[in-house]
């Protein structure tokens, strides 16, 4: 699942079309579009709007920590060619001098550069950075909601010293984003894969449903049960567990105790695992 935050309708239009997103009428604070595994919000211009839109999106998408966050938009740059796409390697908020460093883990092969976020439109370009008005607000807020590896900022250069910001039109912005869709799609696919893996990885085991059907577990007991099921499966020679044999137990406390005793009797060995089996990505 990917949450996309854009500032302008023109920045959103190509994404809405490409990913077949539908307008969601139930949300009135910000304009929201949803698709199969994507939710997009149009925040409006500025870092405060961007941060607020993140919070809004977080609340309406179930407050999950296994979601990727992507800020897509246009940016100025002193000398980069209009239409080039960049990920942000470092975001600096000019007003506060605070900096953030988006992870490069999942973004190999995509061009990246530093980015400064300003409060007001600029006519002057810094020499070595992109320039926008949202990224610092977006990143500061998104980094409270998920792990930093799942937060990215992708900007398309819309203006530079040769092509003034006043030349920018809505249709031009739409086209600039549309031209970068192949690269954006690849980035989104990578983020999505890791999100799904993290989600599956942290999910409760299927067996837990059967336990809950039979006995009542408190929240603490449920955490303990989840861990015991995992240990049971890890130490069982065939990786399975036999729930039918527990049906005579009266309550959750007896079940947990039984599982603990059962695990103690299981073998402890270290089967070799294939190289790379330990990594999510």
């Amino acid at each position: 699942m990917i949450n996309i935050v854009v500032a302008l309708p023109a920045e959103a239009r190509s994404l809405i079309r490409a990913f077949n997103l539908k307008s969601s009428n139930t949300h009135s604070l910000f304009k929201v579009y949803t698709g199969e595994a994507i939710t997009l919000v149009i925040s409006g211009v500025g870092k405060i709007n961007s941060a607020a839109a993140c919070v809004y999106l977080y609340s309406i998408t179930g407050e999950s920590e296994h979601m990727a966050w992507l800020n897509v938009g246009i940016a100025g740059h002193a000398h980069s060619v209009v239409g080039e796409g960049f990920l942000a390697t470092k975001i600096t908020d000019v007003a506060t001098s605070s900096s953030w460093y988006p992870s490069r883990l999942l973004t190999t092969g995509i061009t990246a550069d530093a980015l400064i976020t300003v409060d007001l439109p600029q006519n002057d370009y810094p020499d070595d950075s992109m320039c926008d008005m949202e990224a610092s607000g977006f990143y500061a807020m998104a980094s409270k909601m998920t792990t930093c590896e799942l937060i990215q900022i992708y900007k398309v250069i819309s203006d530079n010293r040769q092509h003034d910001a006043h030349e920018i039109t809505a249709s031009r912005v739409e086209q600039l984003i549309a031209d970068r869709l192949p690269e954006l799609s690849e980035l989104m696919a990578r983020l999505s894969t890791v999100c799904d893996e993290l989600k599956a990885f942290n999910a409760e085991p299927d067996e837990i449903k059967e336990f809950i059907r039979e006995w009542h577990f408190s929240v603490t007991q449920r955490h303990r049960l989840k861990r015991l099921i995992a240990c049971c499966k890890l130490r069982s020679p065939d990786g399975s567990m036999n729930i039918a044999s527990l049906m005579h137990l009266k309550n959750s406390r007896e079940v947990l105790k039984h599982l603990e005793k059962h695990i103690e009797r299981l073998p402890v060995c270290f089967p070799g695992r294939p190289a790379g089996a330990d990594h999510i990505v």
Binding site: Y101, S103, L105, T147, R227, L234, P267, V268, G272
Partner: protein, 332 residues
């Protein structure tokens, strides 16, 4: 391969920064103010990062040399450790670093001279009595030597200070810089081992047990002092056979009479580190093993721990002089 290098602004022009960066010409370089901005972030995933860590080149401003935990050492009275790097190229599932650090990025401190100054200050504080300095606590001492050149640098320091002893703890076979130098009487290269089956399952990206023994033999033949470290001892139902085989394997090839020291220690983790690691690796068989939380540590039961220590000690005594044996009794 390093694809991203973060560099603290203050050391962009440092010779070592330039040398390290030159080894990774295609890496993206990103300037930061302090390494903690990246390394100490709250929301980051160690396991994800471990698949492709970045390198952070930094300066260490304080705490260059620290006292070792109680019970850690190989017979010296004054024992200190230092870390010119944080994190390790290897990925050993029992390693406490996974639970201690939030980030898996490698941090390299390039102000080597400040570490040396701190060691000199420590020696002065102890009136130039013998002091031990242990490397390899927060990183492997040798694995990134071709990149850092740290060992090559620090050998000169120890060559001039016979009262200062250095232990380089490692699983690496990167021993070229040592072999290119004349052996020093006050430097011990200590290799860590678990039995091959356990190593294959838990010590990811490390050289095989056999290759580590090869490296030890070459160092021994060149006149360097070498040591053996069986810390932590890992339990498996077959641990007796596994450790017996490991010891046979090692002592059939190494000159036991020429070893500097042998130590072993129980598997122990502070509970919060253990919790962090289990959260990162819930699918790891090691943590489904017979571990208990007691006396402020997560470890095997006292009985099991004693049985393992006793067994391995008895087996080791078949090969080594008790005078070079140092069981680790540290609490953490």
């Amino acid at each position: 391969m390093i694809e991203t290098i973060y560099i603290e602004r203050g050391i962009i022009e440092h010779t070592r920064t330039q040398e390290v960066c030159a080894r990774f010409p295609r890496a993206q370089r990103i300037v930061c103010d302090r390494y903690g901005e990246i390394f100490n972030l709250r929301r980051q995933n160690f396991r994800l990062q471990k698949s492709n860590p970045a390198l952070i080149i930094a300066t260490k401003h304080a705490g260059h040399v620290l006292k070792v935990p109680q019970g850690y050492g190989v017979g010296g009275e004054h024992n200190y450790y230092f870390s010119h790097m944080l994190n390790c190229l290897y990925d050993c599932r029992y390693c406490f670093l996974q639970g201690m650090f939030r980030s898996a990025h490698y941090v390299l401190f390039v102000n080597y001279e400040d570490f040396e100054q701190a060691m000199d200050n420590t020696l002065t504080r102890h009136d130039d009595h013998v002091c031990w300095f242990f490397s390899g606590y927060d990183c492997d001492s040798l694995v990134l030597e071709p990149v850092t050149g740290f060992v090559q640098h620090i050998l000169t320091f120890f060559a001039a200070r016979p009262q200062a002893w250095l232990e380089l703890r490692t699983k690496s076979t990167q021993i070229r810089s040592l072999l290119n130098n004349a052996p020093l009487n006050n430097v011990v290269i200590a290799f860590s081992f678990t039995p091959q089956a356990i190593s294959a399952s838990l010590e990811h990206k490390t050289p095989s047990v056999s290759k580590r023994i090869d490296a030890m033999c070459r160092l021994q033949a060149a006149g360097w002092k070498v040591g053996l470290r069986f810390d932590p001892l890992i339990y498996a139902d077959e641990y007796k056979t596994q450790y017996q085989e490991l010891f046979v394997n090692i002592f059939s090839r190494l000159q036991a009479s020429n070893l500097h020291s042998v130590s072993l220690g129980a598997f122990r983790l502070p509970p919060d580190y253990h919790r962090n690691i289990v959260k990162l690796y819930p699918d790891e068989p090691l943590f489904a093993g017979p571990l208990l939380e007691h006396s402020g540590m997560v470890s095997y039961s006292t009985e099991l721990e004693h049985a393992m220590l006793e067994f391995c000690t008895a087996e080791l005594m078949k090969y080594i002089d008790p005078d070079i044996f140092y069981p680790c009794t540290q609490a953490a």
